[in-house]
């Protein structure tokens, strides 16, 4: 079975599971509230130039929450539900299965962009237009791919770690700051800059803002950076997943809940 076919089957499995689990749509609940908060602050401060950022940020947060929240659950939930053993026994590697399942939830996260746009338009009368739609579409697609790669890595790290809940609860806001998703990286202390550059969100946020404003020029670099960071995370995630599956088999821990 080709890797893509495995991923597609994983997407179908995830759709079936998510239909019965409303908590997988958590991000769709958070995004409108965050947009309302950010828009209220921006509008009351009369900063019309920051409205686009206030609309884009909840979308990026939505993607990150979807990745972080669900990535950590895939293997533990499978263990509790008794799905993990047959998955490990199947003649396909687990990595692409995890990636496919996470991809489904991440794509739900994309709807957060639409939600925040709607909240800004209907709730605050601010219709954000995209000056460069082609670049915007490329930026969203690249960001989704990088999120899927990062989520695959997070899934493996969270399973290997003994502090899954701690990591899952802690890796949100520090990354929103480092990713410059609302306050640009340039406005943060200079010493954070090198750290920001290895977080794909920082490239995504800048590229999306540029696409909305239409002042993007020579944007191949940021797209390559987003895809490169996502690919590196995906490769590390697949490697780590293979390692813990092998270790679980070797040490007889597959059935451990």
């Amino acid at each position: 079975m080709s890797t893509l076919r495995v991923m597609w089957q994983a997407v179908l499995l995830q759709l079936a599971l998510s239909r019965r689990n409303p908590e997988h749509a958590l991000v769709l609940l958070i995004a409108p509230m965050q947009t309302t908060t950010m828009m209220a602050l921006t509008v009351t401060a009369h900063r019309e130039d920051a409205v686009a950022s206030a609309v884009l940020a909840p979308g990026l947060i939505g993607l990150w929450v979807a990745a972080l929240d669900y990535a950590g659950r895939v293997v533990p939930e499978d263990r509790w539900a008794g799905r993990f053993s047959p998955m490990v026994a199947a003649p396909v590697p687990l990595g692409p299965v995890v990636a496919g399942r996470v991809a489904t939830v991440v794509l739900v996260g994309v709807a957060a962009f639409a939600e925040s746009w709607l909240v800004a338009a209907l709730g605050f009368g601010r219709v954000v237009t995209v000056a460069d739609p082609a670049l915007f579409a490329v930026a969203v697609a690249a960001t989704c791919l990088a999120t899927i790669g990062t989520a695959t890595l997070l899934s493996a790290v969270l399973v290997v770690s003994r502090a899954r809940d701690v990591l899952q609860n802690s890796l949100g806001y520090p990354f929103y700051i480092l990713g410059g998703i609302l306050v640009p990286v340039a406005a943060l202390p200079g010493w954070l800059d090198p750290l920001s550059r290895v977080v794909f969100l920082s490239w995504s946020a800048e590229l999306l803002r540029d696409a909305v404003r239409g002042d993007a020029g020579g944007r191949l670099g940021p797209v390559a950076a987003i895809l490169g960071l996502g690919a590196a995370a995906m490769a590390a995630g697949l490697w780590l997943t293979r390692r813990y599956v092998d270790r679980s088999r070797r040490e007889g821990m597959v059935e451990f809940a």
Binding site: T37, L41, Y173, I177, A187
Partner: protein, 264 residues
Amino acid sequence: MRAVLRIVRESLILGFAEMGAVYTWRTWTFGWLMRLLCQATFYALLGRYVGDDTTMQYVLVGNIVVLACMESTIVVISLAGERRMGTLPLLAVAPSGHMPVYLGRGLQWTVTGMTSSLVAWFVLPPLLGVPLPWPRAAYAIPVVLLILASSYGYGCALSGIALRLRGVEWLVLNLAYGIVMTFGGVNVPVEVWPAPLEAAAQALPVVHGLEAVRGILGGAPLGSVMRLLGTEALVGACWYGVAALSMDRLVSAGRRDGSLGHAG
């Protein structure tokens, strides 16, 4: 009274033992607490980005105080956990009755909530360059305790939803504190919202207590601060009333049809 105090003590022991399965003091401090500090910082930076230092301080104070509310509403997860494990009937047959046991089930979150808020209160304002006016800032600390208490009642009341519609506890929790963070005067004054929304927001915990905190920091007259504190206490008492009613009905219906022990 002694029986209630004993339940409070046992609830705290159970709650912290439960927390100990997830956190060590190091992972709590450098993981969870750091996350909360980053949350308050994130919104404070947004305040400075769109406004100035005054906006930043306004947003920072709101986001520090709301940490107490946020953590105390985690009682939703603790109570839903009892439902999931099918242990609600065991708690309901306690000799003291189900009410104090159920209401005490998330008390550990009030202790951590107060700790988080206090750490943020002392650390973040000087760190972000918007120091609070001391000693007035010290007088606001008991108000945070009151906000914590009223928020805990709010969390207990909303637990009723999570106990009835299973598998939605994270949605209920996020909705509970999300509504307070959005409409509760945390980032922008409540008066910004349309009149019906502003009126509805008066029923939320935090709103009046936070206004009292801002009043204390700004040197408002004692009378107006006391009035706000009274309103916050009244709002909290109403939420405890809703929680008691909701849990009472849950237990009596569960006893009648045997559904109290249904796990899920």
